[in-house]
């Protein structure tokens, strides 16, 4: 893993991604300083074009688009990371149990996993948010609910292959408990794959969140990029900037995350290194 990160550090596009994400994190951290006011606050006249007093213009209510984007970054990251972590936990448990115990347990769990993949993800997410009523936590739950199967399949695959690996067999031969084998040998050895896939999942989660908010299923009390676009869409023709900038923010963020994910994948999964 350590050399993995060294390899990562030599990957220029991945470093670019890391730089983008670093900027974003900085923005999130500094937001309360740069924009101490509530992003919902009516800061000036409505529909001011970019430049002038408001760097990125104002929206239909006269709120500062730049401030909205800054606060939206936090929401996007919280939901992206939160949903991904939840998906990893669910997926790792389901996939891990299936891949470790094999047999009927595996059949059942993998059936369930495939089953969840058979439901169109976005509609399913919509349904869950509708049931739970829109809020940050219900968005996280919905996105996690549609994202975990891919992690489960990954972890299962890794566990199955690790289970056949001799060091795991050796550990079992020493008389180690299942928990010990799983937590101190198998999980650490598929951590790199999970990290790589998980980081890509964050990007997907952010896109999903934007889609949900765009359809009006975002949390109305927190600023999010999808919400800004959804609000600006009505005035797309007269005030292009409201939709454009948050879209670019999403694009850059997801791009950055994907670049990091790719970089991690290449660095941590030596199988792919030559590509």
């Amino acid at each position: 893993m350590r050399e993995g990160f060294a390899r990562f550090a030599r990957n220029r596009t991945a470093l670019f991604g890391a730089a983008v994400l670093l900027c974003l994190l900085l923005l999130v951290l500094l937001t309360p300083v740069i924009y101490p006011d509530d992003p919902f606050k009516l800061a000036g006249p409505a529909l001011q074009p970019p430049g002038g007093r408001f760097l990125l213009g104002t929206d239909t209510l006269g709120r500062d688009v730049a401030a909205e984007i800054a606060y939206g970054a936090r929401t996007s990251l919280i939901i992206g990371v939160g949903a991904t972590l939840a998906a990893i936990v669910i997926g790792a448990v389901a996939g891990g149990v299936a891949g470790y115990y094999r047999g009927r347990t595996e059949t059942v769990l993998m059936r369930i996993t495939e089953f969840f993949q058979t439901i169109p993800a976005f509609i399913f997410a919509l349904l869950i948010v509708a049931i739970l009523s829109p809020s940050v936590s219900s968005e996280i739950i919905a996105i996690a609910a549609v994202s975990w199967p891919s992690i489960a399949r990954l972890v299962r695959g890794e566990f199955v292959s690790l289970g056949g690996r001799e060091f795991v067999q050796a550990c079992a031969g020493l008389g180690a408990s299942d928990a010990r084998i799983i937590f101190s040998h198998m999980l650490p050895n598929c951590a790199s794959s999970i990290i790589a896939v998980g980081s890509l999942l964050i990007g997907t989660a952010i896109l999903l969140e934007a889609g949900l908010a765009f359809l009006g299923l975002g949390d109305p009390n927190v600023m999010s990029w999808g919400l800004i676009i959804s609000a600006g869409r009505a005035v797309l023709r007269s005030a292009w900037w409201i939709c454009t900038f948050p879209g670019i923010a999403i694009l850059l963020t997801v791009l950055g995350i994907n670049l990091i994910g790719d970089g991690l994948n290449e660095a941590l999964n030596p199988r792919l290194r030559e590509r």
């Binding site: 495939e114 993800a121 349904l127 934007a210 889609g211 359809l215 676009i229 879209g247």
Partner: protein
């Protein structure tokens, strides 16, 4: 014969999955607060409790959950998808009406994504680290990170409003009475932007996958063998690598086809495309249970069929796959 038996077997094993989807969705939908009667009454402004009861009775919402479920399942067993009271129409006819535009959009988007993705991935991989590769990789990275609905909005601004090249929305120009090729051309012009918005993400995905897959295959021993035979690089690519590299793409494409249905909701909303996606969203918003369940059912069937098709393609591509 073996093939037919295999197909039968696959279809039979798919039944529990489809049934499970029906059950799960039925329960989930009934978990959601509010019902169709209150939505309909809400849109009507006001209604008496008697009117609402009448509606609930008409919709069958006054029965116990178990009864409703039994009714639903027995209807399904008779290939009766039910009646959408909210739309005052048979669910099957509602879906059928939307099936054409949706299939057109999805097939176009999917076909474009797969075909172009494969070509771009191949071009990128063969010119690895050249300017071609870098440009294709850059584009696919950006496309992979772009929200489809935002892309759609931006395209409307540029191509419809700014340049006036393409119509903003809809399936065709209403009332022109176009026939034949004029109609085809008209629909095609309407199709361009939604299809691109929907396809771009997947195109990027397949281009990336294809590139990686080709690069992986070019490192395989059989490629060395082909070289040792004196085969040209171009022929090695087309004759050996391509087909091997396609295998993982086929698998992923099968998985993604299902997501396309979900992804089309947003794009259909942006472009006013009269497809299943918007139908599903409206059905969800108005608690049109029969319709929503039927859409879930349809898409589950569709995905099962796609998976089957993927298997068939796989078997055709890969002799190692045994039925």
């Amino acid at each position: 014969m073996r093939f037919a038996r295999y197909m039968g077997y696959r279809l039979v094993t798919a039944l529990p999955v489809i049934f499970g989807i029906i059950v799960l969705n039925f329960l989930l939908i009934h978990l959601a607060p509010g019902d169709a009667a209150s939505v309909l009454a809400g849109e009507s402004g006001a209604a008496t409790p008697e009117y609402m009861d009448e509606l609930r009775h008409k919709f069958g919402l006054d029965q116990s959950l178990g009864m409703q479920f039994l009714t639903y399942v027995s209807n399904m067993a008779h290939f009766n998808l039910g009646y959408s009271y909210r739309n005052d129409a048979d669910v099957s006819s509602l879906i059928l009406e939307r099936l054409g535009p949706t299939s057109l959009l999805m097939l176009t988007a999917f076909g474009t994504a797969v075909a172009l993705g494969i070509i771009l991935g191949l071009v990128a991989a063969t010119g690895r680290n050249s300017w071609r590769d870098n440009i294709i990789s850059l584009i696919s990275l950006v496309a992979y990170a772009t929200p489809g609905f935002w892309l759609g909005l931006m395209m409307i601004v540029i191509f419809s409003i700014g340049l006036g090249w393409l119509p903003t929305s809809g399936f065709d120009t209403v009332g022109t009475g176009h026939e034949g090729w004029a109609e085809v051309w008209d629909v095609a012009r309407h199709l361009v932007m939604p299809a691109v918005s929907l396809a771009l993400f997947y195109l990027a995905l397949y281009a990336r996958l294809m590139r990686a897959s080709v690069l992986e295959q070019t490192g395989m021993d059989y490629v060395t063998t082909a070289r040792a035979k004196g085969q040209t690089e171009r022929r090695i690519m087309t004759g050996h690598v391509l087909r091997n590299a396609l295998l993982p793409i086929v698998t992923i494409a099968g998985v993604q086809a299902g997501n396309l249905i979900g992804g089309s909701i947003v794009v259909e909303t942006v472009f006013g495309w009269p497809g299943i996606g918007t139908l599903a969203f409206n059905a969800l918003q108005s608690r049109d249970l029969n319709l929503l369940l039927a859409i879930f059912f349809m898409s589950a069937c569709l995905i099962v069929i796609i998976n089957l098709a993927v298997d068939v393609i796989y078997v055709m591509l890969d002799p190692r796959m045994e039925i």
